[in-house]
Symmetry: C2
Subunit: 219 residues, 2 copies
């Protein structure tokens, strides 16, 4: 598996929220946007915002900030979100269905061309506009679609065997929503989504808030 | 809203995967675990692992590493995952249902005491063992339950009005799965979950992998 550059990861993770905010300000008619305004909108420090945006290669102009159109392009090109990425989703359960209906993805070029499931009641039907196909045709269908990205939302006990088939079918990137650490060849990228991470953040931040409430403000 | 310490955030986000890995190694009978082993398991740099774990206050012993039991306790206490946190979930749709069935949460002390929805077909029923109650009783029920954390999985157009009710009911922390930037009083913590963040990571990592494949290895 490719080792991710940990130092850049937090910046990359924040880029989608920058994009969301900047597009909103663009709709309001702003031609330039400053790092300070983005920071205020997102409750971040301005220096952090400028550092994060620099990874896309764009540099703001002193006093004016970033030209909005160029900033959007820079982020989208850096993320390759200016291109449509065809993907398949495996496991059309509740989480899979939620992801198929997640409107943001289409704005980011993420196009789910098909879903796979083993439940006969789902096969052949459309869920949120995505056709559900039998999982035992997955390998050949993925080859036909020439899809390189798979979203994995199967139950954890099926995760590894499903990943093996995805790799055989030529998948180069797996977005893994199971809690299984997948074993894949070195050149396959796995992005593991851990919903507990957000809960960890919430717990620590709430605790910090409680502590600051119980302490009198400094003179 | 409380400003999160951005510098510590990536470390906090990684703690749940450390916990998962360490518990696995504990089941295999290990009494000590080194930062290097954790790093290998999680595809990280050892220095990063030691830095991350240091935020919990634990320091490894030279050559032996961390005592496994103490390390688990340190992480769980830091995250307050040694305590049961009662929560409510608002919006029992596909994503809400997926979260109610997410087994990991119980291991982390996250206890969903009730769900709220406006769909009469869901009200009064149990989903994944969680009773669904009518959303218009939410404010009084949350007061009765004395719950301080809410998981928000309503459709985005209802997000702000729901958050307003949650705040009135005494909720101190909102785990926000909608794409709305909620307006809440200063002392309420909002943890916004953005599923696009993981997709951004996947796209950039795949692109890095592609670039390294197309370049001949350095001599």
């Amino acid at each position: 598996m490719i080792k991710q550059k940990i130092s850049a990861a937090p910046s990359i993770r924040r880029l989608p929220s920058y994009l969301h905010t900047i597009k909103q300000l663009q709709r309001e008619g702003d031609e330039y946007i400053s790092g300070t305004v983005i920071a205020q909108e997102l409750n971040l420090e301005p220096i952090q915002v400028r550092k994060d945006l620099a990874i896309t290669g764009i540099i703001g102009k002193p006093k004016r900030g970033y030209p909005v159109g160029a900033l959007i392009s820079a982020i989208e090109q850096f993320l390759r979100w200016d291109l449509v990425q065809d993907t398949v989703l495996v496991g059309a359960g509740n989480l899979g269905t939620a992801l198929m209906g997640y409107g943001e993805f289409q704005l980011h070029g993420l196009n789910i061309v098909a879903a796979f499931d083993k439940n006969p009641e789902k096969i052949g039907k459309d869920i949120r506009g995505v056709r559900v196909l039998p999982v035992d045709t997955m390998e050949i269908q993925i080859r036909n679609f020439k899809v390189k990205i798979a979203i994995l939302t199967v139950p954890s006990p099926s995760a590894q065997e499903t990943a093996d088939i995805l790799v055989r079918a030529g998948i180069e990137g797996i977005w893994n929503f199971t809690n299984v650490k997948l074993k894949v060849p070195e050149d396959v990228v796995v992005q593991k989504e851990d919903l507990s991470s957000g809960y960890a953040m919430l717990c620590v931040t709430m605790n910090t808030a409680r502590e600051s409430r119980s302490q009198p403000p400094k003179a």
